[in-house]
Symmetry: C2
DNA sequence: CTTACCATGTAAGGCGTTACATGATTCA
DNA sequence: TGAATCATGTAACGCCTTACATGGTAAG
């Protein structure tokens, strides 16, 4: 089996526990998966069409609160495909932090500029942290009597821990730079 | 000014403190920048050619230990371009962790499989951590009497802190999953 | 002598973003 | 009635990876 396209797997994964529309999938990307994966409409809708063509998902029209939606459902083949992908060892984990890049080349700018980049980063992380903390407390209650969300909780905790570390680093970095 | 291509800036940033060949740039990507940026030869060499065409860098042949090399140097325009980019606020920091994805969809697999993914991640991080720790101690000595590497040290410390947190999370996650 | 590393590139093709295009509904 | 959000898509274009192609040198 050739290397799977990641977005196929992400979408199948989301569909594996509920039927969703393309719009809802995008929302999941922007909240639940935000801190370790991302995708735009321009990739989600075409991928969804592809999944249907390949028999890994089915498309169904439905109307909900006066709105027409296109609900996607995973098929047995889709589930098999997802399971196969989960068996394969992870190929690549990657980070692309423009912030770190701008810090790295700090010698070409004023210290104050570098500090601004750190502060902007810090604010963004603090915002996202709010969401993660709320998600964690909700999940902890749920997992207590239904453990199907335990993996979700695990990834949220990954996010919280790393974000916490980022914030710590921001403070230390600012302190360090003040001395120069 | 339109949105800058990131690789242009990364390369100019590297050239801003020393002349380098494409091959050496690739090596920097695989070591120094590894934990927050990456690039392949297939993108580095064409980008270098581009930079020369746009007058942001110059190319020069030279022979060193019997090898012919193509050394690239940043121009004044290149330096200006880099500085302009550093002034602009960061647009996007992104993570694409396949590992987290495979954990997130854990319900579709055995607990043992999820644990395998965590362990593979852990091993990879431990390996890279070795490099970072060595880099940190070298840098600390250097920075002591020459602070031009202070930003480099800062990013290395970012890497060490987050990797340390990742390893902590791995242990906690494995412990958590054992109970199910 | 052969493996590893130094060194530079090209071509095809995949993947994904941005911008554009459209239209309904809800709420203030 | 106008803004926000719901909802679905397409087209152009850019960027990057993979695989291919080539050849020199150092060290065991």
């Amino acid at each position: 089996m050739a290397t799977e396209k990641k977005l196929d797997c992400v979408i199948l994964g989301l569909l594996s526990h509920e039927e969703l529309t393309g719009y809802e999938i995008k929302k999941r990307m922007d909240t639940t998966l935000k801190y370790f994966w991302g995708a735009s409409y321009g990739s989600i809708y075409p991928t969804l069409g592809d999944l249907v063509n390949r028999g890994l998902a089915t498309k169904r029209e439905c109307t909900e609160n006066k709105r027409n939606k296109l609900l996607y459902t995973i098929t047995d083949d889709g589930r098999r495909y997802l399971k196969e992908w989960l068996k394969v060892p992870v190929e690549k984990d990657e980070i692309r932090y423009e912030t770190l890049l701008k810090i790295f080349f700090g010698n070409e700018q004023d210290v104050s500029q570098a500090i601004s980049h750190i502060e902007a980063f810090q604010e963004k992380i603090e915002m996202e942290m709010q969401y993660l903390l709320r998600a964690e407390s909700t999940l902890k209650e749920i997992v207590h009597d239904d453990n199907t969300h335990k993996y979700y909780l695990l990834t949220v905790q990954f996010g919280i821990k790393t974000y916490h570390t980022y914030l710590e680093w921001c403070e230390e970095a600012k302190e360090f730079l003040k001395d120069f």
